[in-house]
């Protein structure tokens, strides 16, 4: 289907039905918002697969099941392969008109789950894989993952005199997915919900594997007040530390290309995970951002 044929889902026509509620996620949780919005777009004929992580931990505590649609917890490394099995198994039984979606965290995706995910994309399984990225292993108590940004204080990358938090940069997940020549990949942020909804909708209408990397605030792990959870998710994009982009038919596209960036320092220092950063650390972060944007502006669109 041509992308322009897809009926747009907006705040005016989005369903009032809820598919994910009664869960025990923290106030201001970006991950639970990402799940909630995605399921409103995907609808009730959806199998949801969640590996170990925040959303499975808060959504399936017997006997309080939080999903209205079919949902299942997979092993930590096996979300993409279990979703593949569901998608293929249902097809083998002759089921029609259904979707299979994964909701996995950054660790479950970029670290322990990347092998199964790579395999699923290679087979072009008819699944949608949503990675809600809260930039650390939050469910186990804020440990560093492959998507933890440079300088982040986590419980395994303490900020001390010698080392100022995480010393690695975020793994280039979106481009790793695109390198598979995946049917559709996109980045999004819970700070830009309409953009996220549009991308989930596009994934819904894509045959084959779709991947959506959604930046998802974690007030508990990041040390921010819950009421600025959405604002922070916007500022991450506005400061250029996260970007909104799509990949389809071998083309990269930047959805938002700001002329000037929101000050990185203002974004970072609101969060206690970055409070220790020195001016030099911030310079390193800005420099890395600028290099990335130079590359994207030159090669994408």
């Amino acid at each position: 289907m041509n992308n322009t044929d897809i009926k747009r889902i907006t705040p005016k026509n989005i369903t009032d039905k809820e598919f994910f509620y009664g869960h025990k996620a923290c106030a201001g949780c970006g991950g639970s918002l990402a799940v909630r919005l995605a399921l409103k777009v995907l609808g009730e004929r959806t199998f949801a697969v969640l590996p170990a992580g925040c959303m499975s931990a808060v959504g399936f505590i017997y006997p309080q099941m939080a999903f209205v649609n079919n949902a299942i917890i997979s092993t930590f490394p096996g979300a993409a392969s279990m979703a593949s099995g569901i998608s293929v198994g249902a097809r083998a039984l002759g089921l029609k008109d259904y979707k299979t979606v994964v909701f996995a965290g950054d660790g479950g995706t970029a670290d322990i789950g990347i092998q199964a995910l790579s395999g699923a994309i290679d087979r072009n399984e008819d699944i949608i894989y949503v990675c809600y990225d809260n930039e650390a292993y939050m469910n186990t108590g804020i440990q560093k993952s492959g998507l933890t940004p440079y300088g982040t204080k986590t419980t395994t990358t303490p900020a001390g005199k010698n080392i100022h938090g995480a010393q690695t940069f975020k793994k280039n997940l979106f481009e790793i997915m695109a390198a598979h020549e995946i049917a559709y990949a996109a980045t999004a942020s819970v700070g830009y919900p309409q953009d996220y909804i549009d991308k989930i909708n596009k994934a819904k209408h894509t045959k084959g594997t779709s991947f959506i990397h959604v930046y998802a605030t974690c007030p508990t792990g990041w040390g921010i007040p819950t009421e600025i959870a959405i604002q922070i998710a916007k500022e991450a994009v506005d400061s250029g530390l996260f970007y909104l982009a799509e990949y389809q038919n071998r083309n990269f596209k930047l959805n938002k290309n700001p002329k000037s960036f929101f000050p990185v320092k203002d974004y970072l220092l609101k969060q206690s995970r970055f409070k220790h950063l020195t001016d030099n650390d911030i310079k390193i972060i800005e420099q890395q951002r600028d290099e990335k944007w130079e590359y994207m502006r030159k090669h994408w669109n």
């Binding site: 399936f60 917890i73 293929v88 198994g89 039984l93």
Partner: protein, 395 residues
Amino acid sequence: MSKKLFISGDEAVAIGTKLSRPNVISAYPITPQTVTVERLSEMVESGELKAEYMHVESEHSAMSAAMGVSAVGARAFTATSSQGLLYMAEGLHYASGGRYPIVMMNANRSLALPWSIYGDQRDSLSLLDSGWIQVYVEDAQEALDMIIQAYKIAENKDVLTPFMVNLDGFVLTHTYELVEIPEQEKVDKFLPPFQTPNKMSFEEPKNMAFSTTPADNLEYKYQQNRAMLNSIDVINDVDKEFGDKFDRYYGGMVQEYRCDDADVVIFTLGSITGTVRMIVDKLRDEGKKVGLLKIRYMRPFPEKEIIKLAGKVKAIGVVEKDISFGYEGTVYTNVNSALSKLDNAPLSLDFLCGMGGRDVSKSDIYNMFISLFKAVNGEKQKRVQFINMGVETDE
């Protein structure tokens, strides 16, 4: 009319799987399982088998995908061996806890280190506690037949437990024999399509594979154990029904050979059974009262059958291709646990052999019987004996 084909154990498994009409096969190649999945992919290609073949990128994903398949109520098959079995170990516990009646072939092979592609049974025996039904077959015919029976047993509503069919690597997977191929029509009558209440559907949406708190967990584990115990009756019933339909009875949990009036019995697991059977015949010809008990199922364990037999004999030898380092063979431990329930248990010896594919000859088996007779006559014997060691030890 059923026909006979000259095929390998791996091919027998592939044909047994085809006859069982799985909806999806998810598998990753590993020696010596490969021929099975090659044949299955050929059958899918030719249209002879109407199933989806998933080329997963690892054994972990093979099991994970199989669980997804089973979770929507479709019939899943996978196959592995050795390192691959251990790589999916997380999934084994997950599948049994989730009560997904997946059937898997495991080609018994040694575990690294040191690397060895040859047979022993340390892979599956190290996963006895994973909640899977484990059967060990003696030949290619039994391998084929047990795949069909496996689905029938695993999918029984009182069982709903995954099922592992074990066959010795190379000795069974890669040797050829005449195998009778059951007719599809008869298999269809014996094994109806998979029906389960334990699935996600749009008519009745479910949240599956959830978390429990300490307040509920034990009850789930109790039920899982009950299901495994329930399988004992189902195994015996299915064996009978299969025998009635296809004219091959395997004895259910165990198969006795010349055990009536036997003083000394050797217990076996898998393909070594044939060699032991020959030596039993030879010793019987010499007037020795010997017998053989082929342990078919390691889980559930044939405790009742072993106790019944052990009450009548003087000595039991366990032949196994396995060791639990720092103790003894795992089959021996399990057998002795059953014997401990007898007031006057017979003496028992453990013969560890065949590890990493080492040959076990007829004379080795003969000597095991001799050792058992010596023990019966009061001559001290080592309880745990390493058979065919290439070096002298000072033990």
